[in-house]
């Protein structure tokens, strides 16, 4: 009986254990990500070094391809395989530059995770507060976390006081396309120029 019990327990561990052993809760993931970023930002190193380190965090924690497809909106459906590949490469350079240089402006930001709300199997919103200082008021930041793979949650959007960065980016891309007869090459050129400058 005892042997049978241990056999069942061992089997259960084998089945469930490996799948859940590394599941990361979205709120824990956000807090650990902001702590890592905050540590870099408070280091006594040059802005360029900070940007370099922030880029590596972004590569690990942001679903850059997901954000890329979202930002392109319905125009992504018209891309062929090569254009998609080129777009993803250009977007990654653009995103990493934009993301890290935006963050590098802050020194030692203190972010406190408040709550998480499960939207559906793919998304959880983690709500946090950027603690106010004498120079700026408290800011509410929501994080859209992509949880399709619970072992590897990824950031897809930051919503600052209700304003979505991904949506702003999407509308910026749409504006560039609309002003240029939906010519994707113009967008590619803009992304390329942004990353170079």
């Amino acid at each position: 009986m005892k042997k049978k019990f241990f056999f069942i327990l061992f089997s259960v561990f084998l089945i469930i254990g490996p799948n859940n052993a590394f599941t990361i809760e979205p709120d824990v993931f956000v807090q650990s990500t902001v702590n890592r970023a905050s540590q870099i930002l408070s280091k006594n190193i040059s802005k360029e070094e900070k940007i370099k380190e922030l880029r590596s965090i972004a590569m690990e924690t942001v679903d850059i391809n997901g954000v890329a497809y979202y930002s392109l909106g319905s125009a992504r459906k018209n891309l062929d395989k090569n254009q998609k590949k080129k777009y993803l490469e250009l977007f990654e350079s653009y995103f990493l530059k934009s993301f890290s240089s935006r963050l590098a402006e802050y020194t030692n930001p203190q972010i406190e995770v408040k709550e998480k709300v499960f939207l559906n199997a793919n998304y959880t919103i983690v709500s946090s507060i950027l603690i106010g200082t004498s120079e700026r008021p408290e800011v509410k930041i929501d994080w859209r976390i992509y949880t399709k793979n619970p072992d590897n949650p990824l950031i897809r959007d930051l919503i600052i006081e209700g304003l979505s960065l991904a949506r702003t980016q999407k509308e910026e891309f749409a504006s560039i396309l609309n002003s240029n007869n939906n010519d994707i090459d113009v967008l590619f050129k803009s992304l390329e120029e942004f990353s170079k400058n």
């Binding site: 240089s101 559906n120 793919n122 209700g162 910026e172 504006s175 560039i176």
Partner: protein, 263 residues
């Protein structure tokens, strides 16, 4: 009476164009519909003018303002906020939020008297709820009027037809501060006092957002489009009063996000 008729006509003209889409469908019938940029070339010209004015005038003034002692800046911001209650309170009533109208009336009375004409935000220290400004554009939105076309007003910046109509209501009787200053028969208020309060409000806003604007401009490929998007998003959350609301209500539309997984 003539003023009331004028107000009515302007509202009808502007809100009807805000409601009507090019295909004749009502704005309200389409969830999360894009706000049309009907006058884009003109808007971009206005935007360029505003950018020039900002670089030459507003930004340097805002930077100078930032060098003032924090207590002076906080006091100025408090006075501007206190005056804005005069527009917020009637809009609380028009939106049916009578409780908030009472709270904001209490805030106005307390801050104007004990708070020395609003310099000190006594109400905040007494535990009043966080102050949220309301205006006639938001009220029209709450009543179901769509935003209409996006417009960039020279000097004043981003707006929509609906929000511009809302601003006209201020001039046509909706803003007691404007009327007390311009038409009031008293020795303390004048047109200059009103203008000074508006300019100070603008400088205070610009000074509070110096880094955010610089950062956004530096990291935008199309700064005009980024500001347009942020303005429209901001107005939407203000109209729906969801800035700090229930997350499940805020993120109720997942269509765009879900679609990228089924690409």
């Amino acid at each position: 009476m003539i003023k009331l008729l004028k107000l009515f006509c302007i509202l009808i003209m502007i809100t009807s164009s805000a409601l009507a889409d090019t295909d004749g469908n009502l704005e309200l019938s389409k969830k999360n519909k894009q706000v049309k940029d009907c006058f884009e070339p003109l808007n971009r010209a206005s935007f360029a003018l505003n950018q020039g004015l900002d670089k030459a005038l507003f930004k340097p003034i805002a930077k100078g303002y930032r060098n003032l002692p924090p207590s002076v800046r906080v006091g100025t911001g408090n006075v501007i906020n206190n005056i804005s209650n005069l527009i917020t309170i009637p809009n609380n009533v028009l939106q049916g939020d009578i409780k908030m109208a009472f709270i904001n009336t209490g805030r106005l009375v307390v801050n104007t008297t004990i708070g020395l004409l609003g310099i000190i935000d006594v109400a905040d220290n007494m535990g009043f709820p966080t102050y949220e400004k309301e205006d006639y554009g938001q009220t029209l939105g709450k009543w179901g009027v769509g935003p209409g076309c996006y417009i960039v007003l020279p000097v004043l910046g981003p707006s929509t037809l609906r929000d511009t109509a809302g601003s006209f209501v201020n001039v046509l009787g909706g803003d007691p501060w404007y009327h007390a200053s311009i038409n009031g028969n008293n020795e303390y208020l004048s047109e200059n006092v009103f203008l000074a309060s508006k300019v100070l409000g603008g400088v205070d806003f610009r000074a509070n957002n110096l880094e955010s604007f610089d950062n956004l401009e530096k990291n935008s490929m199309d700064f005009y489009a980024s500001l347009k998007s942020l303005y429209i998003q901001d107005r939407k959350i203000k109209i729906e009063n969801i800035k700090r609301g229930n997350i499940q209500v805020i993120y109720n539309d997942e269509g765009d996000w879900e679609e990228i997984d089924t690409k």
